[in-house]
Each structure stands twice: as structure tokens, then as C-alpha cells.
Symmetry: C2
Subunit: 249 residues, 2 copies
């Protein structure tokens, strides 16, 4: 247990561990070792232990981790215990997809409202029955319905303006699908998702791969452990970079 600053990548990995723990719990598994869990998440077991060690000592030496308590601990660390309300800005295809995505309710996220600046979207009824609200309603919704998270899914020219409005209204975390980096105050967190940037990075890897057929780098990596893969080929370790990262793009 240290007081060092926790790497952003560690937080992303905690979420990944949490998802696997949910599945283990559902499967009736009681105890899991760092070895086991790490192999599922495609990380080094030492990394998993180090990630947890930033927050406490949750395991039993010689045994492993109790699945249900570790799940609870990680959920508490992330702050994902009660329901969190989210608003969506921009009534386009991405918003439609998010509303229909089953992962959000499963993880405790609830979409409270859909807003838009575009006059011709306001008042429209979406598939799930929600009605698109004007931006005027923003402050009221945020304040009265306990909303701290927002998704920006508007054309890029509007994203900075929308970001400013969200900040002004009291939003504390923003997930943006707009490709441009917007300015937000230090106490507001922001994450970006840009599909095409991630494809670019795949494209880069592919072209590189063609350039140097059997590269030394890949061969060196291939010698590393595979942490429990039952596959016939050597397996890449996701160093969770590009992070988008999580990265985030």
C-alpha cells in the first residue's frame, strides 16, 4: 500500500478485472489467483497485484483472492456502486447506439436525458420513447437529477461550445466522441473516443508489419510468457497503451 499517484492505466485495468470478476462470480467461482485473473485480462500477474496494491491488501497468501470481496472492493475503488446518471448531447446515430447498448445498465449507468442544439432534432421522440430536449434544460436537468456525467456526440465545430456549457452546468466527467481536443477546467475529467484514430493506429501497425517481415521486436516479444492462452500462436500482451487506452484516443 503506497501513496504514489495511481497510473491512469491502472484504473482502466481495474475496470477490466471487475468485468472478469463479475463473470467468475456468475459462474460460481469462489477464489481466484492473480495468475488466473491476469491471464484472462491479458496482463502480467505482477501487474495485477501491483494495481491492487495501490489501494490495499485484498488477497490471502498461498490462496488467492475471494472473488466476491475483490469484486466489491474494486467496485468501491472505482466508485461504481450506486446508479450513476448520464446525459447525452447530440441526437445522432452514436446516441441511438448508446441508448440501445446493454452494457450501460449492466454497469449501473442510466441515461437520464438526450439534449441537442440542433433545432430540428429538439422534440423528436427516440426509439426508446425519450424526447430530445433543448440545451436550455441543461442546468435544470443536471442540478435536479443528480447528473455528473455527460456524453458529447455532436459535430466537431460544436464540441467546445457544448463542453463549456456542460462545465458551466456542473458536469464533472465528459466522454467525447468528437475528434477535437476541447479545453476543460482541471476539476473536470474528459475521455475521448475516436473510431478513426484507432483505425489509423491499426493501419500504421499493418503497414509497419509489411515493411519488416520478421522483425526483431516481434520475435523478442514472442519469447515472453503467454499467461495461460490455449492458443496455438504466441499472443500479444495488451499493454493497454494507445490507451485510449484507453485508452482513450
Amino acid at each position: 500500500m503506497k501513496k504514489t499517484n495511481v497510473p491512469a492505466a491502472t484504473i482502466i485495468r481495474l475496470s477490466v478485472y471487475q468485468r472478469y470478476l463479475k463473470r467468475l462470480l456468475a459462474g460460481g467461482v469462489k477464489v481466484v489467483s492473480s495468475q488466473d485473473l491476469a491471464s484472462q485480462a491479458n496482463v502480467n500477474p505482477a501487474q495485477l497485484r501491483k494495481d491492487l496494491s495501490y489501494f490495499g491488501r485484498f488477497g490471502v497468501r498461498g490462496v488467492g483472492y475471494c472473488v466476491s470481496t475483490l469484486l466489491q472492493k474494486i467496485s468501491a475503488i472505482l466508485g461504481v456502486i450506486e446508479q450513476r446518471n448520464v446525459i447525452l448531447v447530440g441526437a445522432g446515430p452514436i446516441t441511438q447506439a448508446l441508448l440501445r447498448h446493454p452494457g450501460f445498465p449492466q454497469q449501473g449507468y442510466h441515461f437520464e436525458a438526450v439534449l441537442d442544439v440542433d433545432e430540428k432534432n429538439i422534440g423528436k421522440t427516440l426509439e426508446n420513447g425519450m424526447v430530445v430536449q433543448p440545451m436550455d434544460s441543461l442546468k435544470e436537468i443536471v442540478e435536479e437529477r443528480n447528473v455528473e456525467l455527460a456524453v458529447i456526440a455532436v459535430p466537431l465545430e460544436q464540441s467546445q461550445k457544448i463542453g463549456d456549457m456542460l462545465v458551466e452546468a456542473g458536469i464533472k466527467g465528459i466522454l467525447s466522441f468528437s475528434p477535437n481536443r476541447i479545453k476543460v477546467p482541471l476539476n473536470v475529467s474528459i475521455q475521448y473516443i475516436d473510431f478513426t484514430i484507432l483505425l489509423d493506429s491499426l493501419t500504421y501497425n499493418i503497414s509497419r508489419g509489411r515493411k519488416k517481415k520478421t522483425t526483431e521486436v516481434l520475435e523478442k516479444k514472442a519469447q515472453k510468457l503467454k499467461w495461460g492462452s490455449e492458443h496455438s500462436w504466441p499472443v500479444v500482451q495488451s499493454n493497454s497503451k494507445g490507451y485510449n487506452a484507453g485508452l482513450s484516443t
Copy 2:
């Protein structure tokens, strides 16, 4: 110009620079300094210069970078010059959103086919007129239509199986919306997008923020440069972690 391995985060940033260069070019701007460009991308100017220095010397001392040539150079580095064909697996809401997303054609990505394992989706005609194909067609499509990139947007239980099929068919880069980490050979690249994991990381930041009102860390960061922001509050530097890096989740 060094031969060191290029950080994955650098590649993500190159894509970001490329997007801003496109906008500058469209706006008729001829020359840009690392200072200018970096402030738009929300990174340190030294970082931008270092990122470029992995690949060559593209600027003129005392002047800056020629927008159009730098744009070309970066596009060439990323390999995003001609059209790249992509297939989509899984005919759900995410696929629908991707098909309607304007960013893909703009960046040279073309969706060649939509496939699904689910019997009841096969044969369906999508909004844009594409017909959902069975997985049997996979190998043929990949081979005959010069496809190296694929998107996985299927329920998580199926994602490993789909991944194996894609690899088998010759796909070299995968963008997966499935929350579980799948195993792929070393010569295949994979990037993950998980919306809920990114929200979790925002949630974590929010709960932390509440715990320590005026944290030393934030104050220390606040003293750092703002690189050209015209905003009234100190601005966070996206260290492009979580990655998502770029993160990818």
C-alpha cells in the same frame, strides 16, 4: 531521427495532429509552429517535435512546418493514403452507428461488408442498402476485396470465436467493441473500445475529486503551462493515457 521503438501514444498523437493539419489546410494556413499545433492538440510542443523526430526532420528552423507537406508526411507514416476497406461483424446498433458516421469516409475508410453469425440477421437489408452476409462469405470477401481491417461488434461470448475466424481469414487489424480481451497472434493488431470502462474511469476521477477537495496534485498541475488556451480556467493536459490511448480501453 532515432531508431528507438516508437511509443504507441506517439502514433495516436500523430493521428490527432493529422486531423488538425487537415483543418489548417482547409482554412488556408500555410505554416504552423510546433507551439501552435501542439496547443490545439493539447500537448507539450516538445512532445510534438519529439513525436515527429522518430520519423524524420520535417520542419524549418526559425520558421515552423509547412502545413501541406507535414500533412502528407504524417499520412504516409500512418499509411493512410489510399482507401482502406473494412468489414463489420455483428449487425447491431453499433454497426448501424458506424455506417452512418461521417468520419470514416473522410479518413479513407470504406465499409465493404457487414457479416453476422446470428441466423436471424443474415439477409437483412440495412438502412444504407447493405445486406448482412453469413460468416461463410468471410474468407472470400477478405481475399477478393483486399480487406485487412475488421470491426467486431458482437456479444462478448462470441467475440473470441469471431476473432479466430477473422485471423484465419487473413485480417490484420481488429477494432473490438466487445469488453473481453481476446487472443490474437502477434502479427495481428487489436484495439478495444469499451464505453463503460471509459465511464468507469471518469467515475473514479469524480469520486477521487470529492475525497480530496483541493489536492496537491491538481495544484501542481495547475502551475504548468496552458499552451495557448484562451480559457479562463487552468486546463488539463491530455496525457493520452488510459489509454485509449489512446488509448484504447
